[in-house]
Structure formats: C-alpha cells, structure tokens
Symmetry: C3
Subunit: 252 residues, 3 copies
C-alpha cells in the first residue's frame, strides 16, 4: 500500500509535547502516513532559517510528499495560512515568508489561502489545531482546492538566491558543523579565476572537497545544497572566521 509521507519542521524544540501533539492531530485525519521530522530546532521565530530548511526538505523528498512547517510569530493575528503546490509536493505553512526560498528556487508554484477551519481551535497553537489537521486531510487525499479554493500571492522575504551575474552574495545559514551557506550558486562561479572573500578575509579559489586544504584551513566549495559554502577542514568556519548570517560574500 502507498504510504504518504508528511514531514514536520518547527521552532518548537524537542523538550515539550508540542511536536507530538501535531503528530497526534495528523494521525487522527490520516492514520496511515509516515511521519518524518526535518528539524524542530529552527531558531525561534526565524522565518528565513525555516524557509531554508523547507527548501532542503522539498529538495530531498519525492513527489507526493506533504511538508508541514510551523514558525509562526503571527499566530492569533489575521495572518493567512498557505497550501502551496510546488515541485509535485505540497507545503502547509503560515503565510509569513516561509515559502520564500523554495518559491524563488523553483520559480513559483501554486499558493492557496486555507479557509477550512476545525470546529474548535486555540488562539495560540494553530500548528496543532489547524495546520496539522489540514496536512492530515491532504495526506488522506483531500484536494487542496477543497480546503483552499483561492489562489493567492504568498508573502516573500527580501532574500533570494543571487542572480546569474551577481558578483557578491550573502551568508544565509550556518549549519551544525559551522559551515556558512551562501545564496550564491555554481553559475555565479563560472568566470575563470574567481577568488572568494568574506569578512575581509580571502578564502581563495573554489575547492572540490574538504581534503583539498590542510586541517584547520578554510575553503570555499559547492556544498550538498548546490550552494557556495565557506567551510573549514576539521573545524567550524563560522567560529574561526567569525561569520554570521547576513555577512556579504564577494567574488573577486
């Protein structure tokens, strides 16, 4: 039997029962789904970071997958909830910019405004009370247009993969290993002899893998997200080079 996949991401952490409560809600509507956690350690209310996590999830999973992501500082206000069809997959998320990185990468999708509401709902935990049930219904074959008839324009953050001819970009994410991931892609590095510079430090030419430099040395490479990363062999580039999200990265 086909077992649909629902992934979950949030800024809820894993100490409380909040994630389990969302899973219980999904299972009430779709008892047969497979649940996969992507990350619940998105920084609190960090919509940009959530947006990048979501793009990674959409990139990894197969068509038919449903992605639930809740970073929701606007819960209880009039902010909309989106059902987005993109890349053969479906995203359920607050309309606050979480879709940005995927939307820009895959040149848009079909975004709809969720109007379906359950009979009872809290004012503070729509993840459990509205978004998870909606994800469960979608996993159980309810058509997106039943829950969300109107196509709308999603809110987008003012950040994007760098344009084709960009000569600089910025750090968009620091991962668990201290790798600094940028919004620059391979196409930005096609000119011969480009040298990468960040925070006043010259990193040098693009390398292929960590072992192309000595232990403790920084390097620039195209990472597993197909983006330019600043890394450090056997260590944390972010710590050693004092890098932060938002830092400019130059292609000299």
């Amino acid at each position: 039997m086909h077992q649909p996949i629902v992934t979950l991401s949030s800024d809820f952490g894993q100490a409380d029962a909040y994630v389990a409560a969302m899973k219980a809600a999904i299972l009430r509507y779709a008892p047969h789904v497979r649940l996969i956690d992507v990350s619940h350690q998105i920084q609190q209310q960090n919509v940009l970071q959530g947006s990048i996590i979501l793009e990674r999830a959409l990139d990894a999973f197969a068509p038919g997958t449903i992605h639930l992501i809740v970073v929701d500082p606007g819960v209880g206000t009039g902010r909309k909830i989106l059902i987005v069809q993109i890349r053969g997959q479906i995203v359920v998320c607050p309309d606050n910019g979480l879709i940005t990185w995927s939307w820009r990468k895959w040149k848009g999708g079909k975004a709809r405004g969720l109007i379906w509401r359950p009979r009872v709902s809290s004012r503070t935990f729509h993840g459990r009370d509205i978004l998870a049930p909606a994800a469960g219904m979608l996993a159980n074959q309810t058509a997106p247009e039943k829950l969300a008839p109107r196509i709308i324009k999603p809110i987008l953050l003012d950040i994007a993969p760098a344009g084709k001819s960009a000569r600089s970009g910025q750090i968009v994410h620091i991962d668990h290993f201290g790798n600094a991931i940028t919004n620059l892609a391979r196409r930005n590095l096609s000119r011969a002899g480009i040298s990468i510079r960040v925070g006043g430090q010259t990193i040098g030419k693009l390398k292929k893998t960590y072992s192309d430099v000595q232990p403790g040395e920084p390097l620039a490479l195209i990472g597993s997200a197909d983006l330019l990363e600043i890394a450090l062999r056997d260590g944390s580039a972010a710590k050693k080079l004092r890098l932060s999200v938002g830092d400019r990265v130059f292609l000299d």
Copy 2:
C-alpha cells in the same frame, strides 16, 4: 490494519542509544506498532515535569494509545511499576508520582502494579528491560490484568490543578519559548475584572492571544493546555520576568 501507537518519554536525552534500546525492546514484542517520541529532554529525575509531559500526551492522543514514560530515580529499589488505564489509554511508568497530573485532571483511573518480569533484567535500566517489554506486550493485545492483576493506589505528588475557588496558584512548567504554565484553569478566572500578578509584577487582565499586546510586553492567556500561561509577545516571559517553576501566581 490497525496500527497501535506507543509514545515514549524519558529524561534520557538523545545523545546515547538508550531511547533506541527501548524501541528495540518494544518492537520485539510488538513488531507492528507506531512509535512516537514525546520528549526525552525531561530534566533529569524531574518527576513533576514528566508528569506534565505525560498529561499532554494523554490529552493529545486517541483512545487505545499506550504511553511509556521513564523518569526513574528509584530504579533498582523496591519502587513499583504501574500500568494505568486512564482516558481510554494505557500508561506504563514507575510508581513515583509521574501519573499525578493526569490522575488529578481526569479524576483518577485504574492503576495496577506490574508483577510480570522478563527472565533477565539489569538493575539499572528497567526502561529497556521491564517497562518497554510490558508496553510492547500491551500493544500486542495482552490484557493489563494479565501483567498486573492487582489494583493499587498510585503515589501522587503534592501538586495539582488549582481548586475551583482558588485565588492563587503556581507555575508548574516553563516551555521552550519561555512561556510559564500554571496550575490555574479558565474556571479560576471567571470572576469579572481579575488581574494576574506574579513575582511582584502585575500582568493585568486575561488576553486572548499574543498580538493583544505590543512586542516585548508580557501577557496572561489561556494557553494550548487550557491552563493560565504567562507569556511575552515575541520573547521569553520566563527570562524577562525571571520566573521559575514553583513561583506563586495571584488572581487579584
């Protein structure tokens, strides 16, 4: 096919293989169950916190769910192990007060003392060696009375949801966002004009949701657990107001 759900909670953290060892033990007895982690970040030996996590799990899941929770400072002593039938669900836990919050909320249940023991067991990891196998057997349709024939009175902590006419309560849990959850419920707030006070600070009247105050401002609201919470819009109430578990909360 019906797939029974077994949830797992503990103070084991997620760095060691302890949780996986419990899952392996459950699966030996019940290969078809669905396993859901609730929290493994309960503070070490914090039975009160475990008790609240367990109540949240019982509240979230459907009848038939089995909940295994292990916060067990008394492992290796003569402390009993409970099988509790409550709210149409089953809990397996040490008899050390973990059942308190659920027992008080749902006005009791049927608590039994587990006498079944596997042939071999460690003296230090009953979670893996006794409780998880018992949960597996229950998930595989063994009747509670087979494993635990005698009904007993569970040990209860000296804490409870506040009584109907209580004019004060206390903070029982601080969540990942710094929300301070109390043992006061909506019924305690039915008098007109009640103002909430904690730690010498007046929070004011009950609000509906975070956006009813300005960013950085504290508020009191009925949270997703149906309890009075002290929160802060876009921040941590616990940090800003220096709140801790046990602090008194007054309804003026």
Copy 3:
C-alpha cells in the same frame, strides 16, 4: 508483512535537514522500511564515540536490522565505505574505525568494501548520496556481495574491551547522566575483594545498583551495557569526580 528496520546514527545534530535527507534517500530505495534514530548527537568527528553507539545499536536490535552510521571526517578523500555483516545484522559506515568496538566485542564479522556508486554524488555528503542509498538497497533485499564483492580488513581504532586478565582499563564514554562507562567487563572483576579507583579517588567495591549508596555518593557497578560504570546516585559522576574519556581506571 515483514518491515525491515534501518537505524541511523551520525554527528549531524538535529537542527539541519541532513538526517531527513538521508531518510528520504533510504525511502527512495526501500519505501517500506522502519526508520529508527539511534543518536545524531555523536560529537563531531568523534569516531570512538560513534563506535560505541554502534555497538549499543547492534546489541539492542534483532537479526536482520541494518545500521547506517555516518561520522565521516574523511568524506571526499579515498577512504573506503564498509558493508559489515556482524551478529546477523548489517552495518553501513565509512571505513575509519567506526566498526571497532563491535568488531572487538563480537570477535569480527565479514567486512566488505562498497564499490557500488550512484550516478551522481556530492563530494561532501556521502551519507545522503552513497551510504543511505546503499542501506536502502540492502533493506530492499540486495545482497551485500552485489554492492561490495570483496572482503577486506576494516580499519580498527587502538582501543578495545580490556583483556581477560587486565588490572586496569579506561573510560570510553560519558553518558547523558554523567555515568562514566569503561572498557572493563564483569570478567575483569571476578577476583575477590577488588576495589575500583579512578582519578586518584577510591570508589570501593562493586555495587549492584544506585540505591546501594547514599544520594550524592559515587559507586561502581556493571551497567546496562555489561561494562563497569562509575556512577553517582542522583547526580553526575563525571562532573563531581571530574572524569573524562581516556581516564585510567584501576582494579586494586
């Protein structure tokens, strides 16, 4: 239907989408497996710690289980990838010593060098691009010899369970509770009257369980891994006694 189990361990942490990306890769090759996380909090590049986590996973699970473990400082170099048949189970891991603790405990296995490669792969994330797909194929009944025809000698770390007549050993792991786990086993403690000493402090004779000493007191016992552990009742032995991995432990 039989549902094969694939466990996952890594030093990836749980904040990024790396673990989910490995799961997605496994599911493309084996849509019906059960996925169980063992630990993703192995210290970065700590192969010894990974080796001990892997032994715990092999000890816990039933024959037929497949274990994927990725602690891979040599990714992108010429380091080999292993498929190891051991204890009726299969391990997929980099050939960098991760198999050591299991190999020594169960007196070897059958280690093969993976030659199968997918069409496309990153240079920096073989966990997602090579090891997870290989684990998926094995879970979907591909024979190890198809992916890895040649039997090879795995790389082993210079650490092992202490020999039968050893009079001293060392701390190999500190767990979440601050228990210090050693490479000494029950057989090393069969002489009458042995007293345990570590870091200049006499712990005394072997105890059975935590409650054999007073709260706050240290003790030595055979833990749930069947190894000598230095513990502290209701506290952290590692913190109180200032113990670290590598410290010598003496049997006087």
